[in-house]
């Protein structure tokens, strides 16, 4: 199973990045190999619509779980149309959040946070 987390840096010891669409990097944790891979967030630089673009990245990476601070209304609408499950961050680092997820200590995201659509 693959877990996607927003990450402040592209290193294993990184803190999580609260933002979904505008996270600096994405960390993908594979529960089988117990390893992280990192990818740049190409969605974050556009003026608008980072949320849906980021959701597309998650879909294309084939992740099963997203751990983030908030999902905007559009990103949430996308995620709800897939089998991906989303959970709210609880903990500072990537590993703390992965551990909390694996121990059922994260709360699922059911409602959208504020959108950062801009004009």
């Amino acid at each position: 199973m693959k877990i996607l987390l927003g990450s402040k840096t592209n290193t294993v010891g990184s803190e999580v990045d609260n933002r979904f669409g505008r996270a600096e990097y994405y960390a993908i944790y594979d529960t089988e190999t117990k390893e992280y891979t990192f990818t740049d967030n190409s969605a974050k630089d556009g003026a608008h619509g980072a949320g849906p673009k980021a959701a597309q990245i998650a879909i294309d990476l084939g992740v099963d779980v997203i751990i983030t601070g908030n999902l905007g209304p559009r990103a949430l609408a996308v995620v709800e149309n897939t089998d991906i499950k989303s959970f709210r961050i609880n903990g500072e680092t990537l590993q703390e959040n992965v551990d909390n997820y694996l121990n059922d200590k994260l709360e699922p995201i059911n409602a959208a946070g504020p959108s950062h659509a801009g004009n």
Binding site: G49, P52, Q56, R74, G118, N119
Partner: protein, 276 residues
């Protein structure tokens, strides 16, 4: 000749300056500040025509769609998402460019018009008056601005009121402009907004100059910066209670004798620069 008036986010009196200059010279007036167009308050136009303004949004026929992803890949605005089960369309992000339907080989996309606002066309005195009005809560302003700008005849003398700030709506408005007048005021906020506006007009290589509105003893906040950057100060309009009252009554500043002289001088100074 197209002269655009531009300002930072806070109300710096951009419209006061642009409408008075337009009126004095009998120039056409195009209000591209579509979220808050208020030039009409001062110019009091007669509107003869109202044009619906909108974009064509794609609608996906799920029976025909093979999820080939071509449309998603080609959309530059991130308005389409392929969930693996269907294509989702985010209308509020869609600019109606038509690329998706051109890239669909399976005839799965049709286009449906979505109204974003309207364009009012009329006259004031003997000149043209056009304004774009964006629907309340509509985030997509650029297509309405495009519809306003389609009506500009570059051979005529035109004043264009830009949206405030530095976003894509401003960049859209600045296309094809011959000269930009940046209206600012002598405060710290005024200065920081001005710096951003200067950045945008320089990026777009549009000749420009500055007008300080509500000029006061604090003008040095702005003039120090202008000197250090070698930027042209076109003129100043002083703050006065009389000006504030005229404004609140929706009257033109040039109805006041003293301001008439000032605006006459200012408008000569602007036109001199554009003609150069």
């Amino acid at each position: 000749m197209n002269i655009v008036f531009l300002s930072g986010k806070g109300g710096t009196g951009k419209t006061t300056v642009s409408t008075n200059i337009a009126y004095l010279n009998g120039f056409n007036y195009y209000d591209c500040d579509v979220e808050e167009p208020n030039g009409h308050i001062f110019l009091k136009p007669v509107i003869n025509e109202i044009i619906d303004s909108g974009v064509l949004n794609p609608v996906i026929n799920e029976d025909k769609c093979t999820l080939c992803n071509a449309c998603v890949r080609n959309c530059q605005f991130g308005a389409l998402v392929n969930t693996g089960k269907k294509i989702m369309v985010f209308n509020e992000l869609c600019h109606g460019c038509g690329t998706c339907s051109l890239s669909c080989k399976y005839d799965a996309i049709t286009e449906v018009k979505r109204t974003l606002g309207k364009v009012e066309v009329g006259t004031y005195e003997k000149a043209k008056f056009v304004r774009g009005i964006l629907n309340v809560k509509e985030p997509l302003a650029v297509p309405v601005i495009k519809d306003v700008k389609k009506l500009i005849n570059n051979e005529e003398n035109n004043i264009i009121d830009s949206p405030p700030g530095t976003s894509c709506t401003v960049v859209e408005t600045l296309e094809d402009m011959d000269f930009a007048v940046l209206v600012t005021e002598p405060t710290r906020f005024g200065l920081s907004d001005l710096k951003m506006a200067v950045y945008v007009v320089r990026e777009m290589k549009i000749p420009f100059g500055i007008v300080i509105n509500r000029s006061s003893k604090d003008d040095h906040i702005i003039t120090d910066y202008l000197e250090s950057e070698n930027i042209d100060l076109i003129g100043k309009i002083p703050y006065s209670m009389r000006a504030a009252r005229l404004y609140s009554e929706g009257k033109m500043m040039i109805e006041d004798e003293e301001f008439y002289e000032r605006f006459k001088k200012l408008s000569e100074d602007i036109i001199k620069r554009v003609d150069k």
